[in-house]
């Protein structure tokens, strides 16, 4: 029997991919009002995350035996479909590069300052490519094994820093922000969470394809709980402004933990957990981008594209890390970046949905003929 990805594995995989970007750079604290009301922004983002993901969820439900790359080609036709597929493959590769870059910057500036980035990149890429070469089921199993441990550890870390947290920092509630900028922040946050794409690429491998919606909603809810807790703890501990000054706010929060005389200097434990989560995220994106390229070239087997993608991600990460030391460019996302995320997450799938609805009869006839 061919092994698939269980719903639980998918939930854990998407959840950790969503959480880890916030735990690393916490871009949420720069969005919308960028003040003590960030937690409201996080909560509100739930609605927009679901709304923004409806097109992909719709298509993934309709074509649950195909990946986003495959059904885009089917909907748009060969030429446009190929172009869209290439756009998505580049999007996934860029995401893998972006998170490799963020990981390298955090590693080199926070805990391995004397280690050459090339060594870190090589070790990171070998690990990620090796795991990815074993297939999506192994990535999912890897997530299933480690994500619960990571989530428990995050909860413990948040709880241990309680004596540094001053919740009055989050006052006054909804007085310095407007309805408009809270919603704007929530929309920004919703667009930067692009991990619906993972679901769109692993749908054919899901054991229970009827649970696509429930998998996504559960992973959004679980991840938002952790995002909310980490944002509140970080802002409560460092203050709103100091958190914004930090490149890695949650790490700064962890560094401040000092509880019961024994829990201090525990960031090394956090780093282990963080590296594992980062590996899951980068591996997943390297895997789905190589899968995408493979599907564009209609190759069914072989890991050649994976090795090429891994090498490309490693090389570009090294190049970018060497010439660009500025993290704020990644943290404080500019308007063009939001447009970029919106295009890939919502706009292209929305156009695909419209095209699908126009061509629905053709698809249904094709389906009948196949049956």
């Amino acid at each position: 029997m061919k092994e698939g990805i269980s719903s639980r594995q998918a939930i854990l995989l998407i959840t950790i991919c969503r959480i880890i970007s916030v735990l690393t750079i916490m871009s949420a604290i720069y969005m919308g009002p960028a003040n003590q009301d960030t937690w409201i922004v996080v909560l509100t983002s739930f609605i927009y995350t679901i709304l923004a993901s409806i097109p992909i969820l719709f298509l993934s439900n309709k074509f649950n035996n195909l990946t986003i790359i495959e059904y885009m080609e089917k909907i748009f036709g060969k030429f446009v479909g190929k172009v869209v597929a290439i756009i998505y493959a580049i999007f996934y590769t860029r995401t893998a590069i972006l998170f490799s870059y963020i990981a390298i910057q955090m590693i080199r500036s926070s805990f391995l300052p004397d280690t050459k980035p090339i060594i870190t990149i090589v070790v990171l890429m070998i690990s990620c490519v090796y795991i990815a070469s074993k297939g999506s089921e192994v990535i999912a199993r890897f997530a299933e094994t480690f994500v619960p441990i990571i989530l428990i550890m995050i909860s413990i870390f948040i709880a241990l820093g309680y004596n540094n947290v001053d919740l009055s920092v989050l006052l006054p509630i909804y007085k310095d922000s407007t309805f408009l900028n809270i919603n704007y922040g929530a929309i920004q946050l919703a667009f930067t969470f692009i991990d619906i794409n993972i679901l769109a690429m692993i749908t054919p491998k899901l054991e229970n394809k009827k649970e696509i919606n429930s998998i996504f909603i559960k992973s959004v809810v679980y991840s938002l709980v952790f995002v909310l807790a980490s944002v509140v703890a970080t802002q409560g501990s460092l203050g709103v402004e100091q958190a914004r000054h930090s490149n890695f706010p949650f790490l700064a929060y962890i560094r401040r933990i000092k509880a019961y005389s024994i829990f201090e200097r525990i960031e090394s434990i956090y780093i282990i957990m963080w590296i594992l989560a980062m590996i899951i995220k980068i591996t997943t994106y390297i895997y789905i981008s190589s899968q995408g390229i493979k599907e564009i070239f209609k190759k069914k087997s072989g890991n050649m594209f994976l090795y090429i993608t891994g090498a490309l991600v490693g090389l570009v990460t090294f190049y970018v890390a060497e010439i660009n030391p500025i993290i704020p460019e990644v943290v404080e996302i500019g308007f063009p970046e939001y447009v970029y995320y919106f295009t890939h997450k919502t706009l292209i799938p929305l156009i695909a949905v419209i095209v699908y609805l126009f061509r629905r009869k053709t698809f249904e006839e094709q389906q009948k003929l196949r049956n």
Binding site: F111, D114, D176
Partner: protein, 423 residues
């Protein structure tokens, strides 16, 4: 066909073994953390830093653990004088001064174990924020380190002073700060906490202080060599305007400050025992004046109200305490007497707070107590209008202090020793 299949399996097996061998070799090299590793004997582990300014040059003084002394037994009172060494660097910036030490000192400094940062008075008067950038930017120093101002002197003046029991001067100061929770007259805030208040709009942070004092040596043998000994006193607080030192709170004013900002973890409320309590009592010994209540728990709640455009501050404090000392001959087994003592204790706390608030309003004319944040929380629209002029407004606000003291323990005797118990 079968032989070919077996051959292929052997090739696959060899290939797998080769990969595993290469992987294990690579991992054994990587996991040894040799890359970028720094051995302990190559490090100058810094435990405290002092920053001063002299002739517009930054002087950084570091207390460095001597890892070559081989005499670092904890609790030993006969320490080798070279357990720690003090080194200084000079530069136009802090980092230049720190890195300058590599020209004269044979170890590269390592700042991960710094637990206190001491700023010379002159240095603090010039402005702190610009010089502390390195402390926040570099990955080695920790945001948890305590920040202090060396009152009336240079940072390096207080750095070499070692307590009788602590292993080093840095540890002595750190231990004194940790113990200050039993006192309430000092402030031990970390760099991260300092910045949290510093970033608050219109709040002027208060920092802990350290002061060098002389005391008589008691030990007969040591007295012959040196009649006095330097000690450190952390009582009081340094008041800053943004990041510039402008004055100090005395230890008692700091006690009041800690009550206002709800930092009280312990301490003693010492007050004159009401005279009427000892009238017509069968005194059998000498009689003193004071009662001491030890704080077990204290909670401060503040709120502001605006009436007719005037801001009024309400401070409500609940203190749970233990009767720790009674000099006067009073019958503390009587609940009415306890009630009187509770009221007197509350009055004393009110006096402490009033003194501190008055100093903040009249002398410093600025908000060191985060009162502005209360206005911001409760009246955000008003705050937007008055934020820019807040320090002037703060100087004029009226306040009301309400303290409720509850004595929950009276110790293991029921009347003082100078009073005969009625039969």
């Amino acid at each position: 066909m079968l032989r070919l299949k077996e051959g292929m399996i052997t090739v696959e097996k060899n290939k797998r073994n080769l990969i595993i061998t290469i992987y294990l070799l690579a991992i054994s090299i990587i996991l040894s953390s040799c890359t970028g590793g720094r051995e302990i004997q190559e490090l100058g582990i810094v435990t405290s830093i002092g920053m001063d300014i002299e002739d517009d040059k930054v002087i950084v003084t570091c207390e460095v653990i001597n890892t070559t002394s081989g005499n670092t037994q904890s609790g030993s009172s006969t320490h080798s004088p070279k357990e720690v060494v003090f080194i200084q660097g000079e530069g136009t910036t802090v980092f230049e001064a720190v890195r300058g030490t590599t020209l004269t000192f044979d170890r590269k400094l390592f700042f991960s174990h710094v637990n206190t940062i001491i700023l010379g008075e002159e240095f603090a008067k010039k402005g702190i924020a610009e010089f502390l950038d390195l402390v926040l930017r570099d990955n080695e120093p920790r945001e948890n380190m305590y920040i202090l101002v060396a009152k009336g002197g240079k940072a390096y003046d207080v750095m070499g002073i070692k307590g009788d029991l602590s292993q080093s001067a840095g540890n002595y100061l750190h231990d004194v700060l940790e113990d200050s929770r039993y006192n309430g007259k000092s402030l031990n805030i970390s760099v991260a906490e300092y910045y949290r208040y510093y970033y608050e709009e219109n709040n002027e942070p208060v920092i802990g202080i350290v002061q060098k004092k002389e005391k008589k040596v008691i030990d007969e043998e040591r007295k012959k060599i040196e009649p006095t000994k330097s000690i450190l006193d952390v009582g009081g607080g340094a008041v800053t305007k943004r990041d510039t030192l402008i004055g100090y709170f005395s230890p008692n004013e700091m006690f009041g400050y800690n009550f206002i900002v709800d930092y009280i973890k312990g301490g003693l409320i010492v007050f004159n025992t009401p005279k009427e309590l000892s009238e017509n009592k069968p005194i059998i010994g000498s009689e003193g004046k004071f009662t001491v209540v030890e704080i077990l728990k204290s909670k401060t709640k503040k709120n502001v109200t605006i009436t007719d455009g005037k801001i009024h501050l309400n401070i409500n404090i609940k203190v749970r305490g233990a009767l720790a000392e009674e000099n006067k001959a009073i019958d503390i087994s009587n609940m009415e007497v306890i009630d009187v003592l509770e009221r007197a204790s509350s009055e004393e706390v009110k006096k402490l707070i009033s003194k501190t608030l008055n100093k903040g309003q009249k002398e410093f004319q600025q908000d060191n107590f985060s009162i502005g944040e209360l206005v911001h929380h409760k009246y955000p629209k008003v705050w937007k209008k008055i934020a820019k002029d807040w320090n002037n407004i703060f100087s004029e606000i009226t306040y009301n202090i309400n303290v409720e003291t509850e004595i929950v323990k009276t110790g293991i005797i029921n009347v003082p020793s100078n009073l005969r118990k009625r039969r």
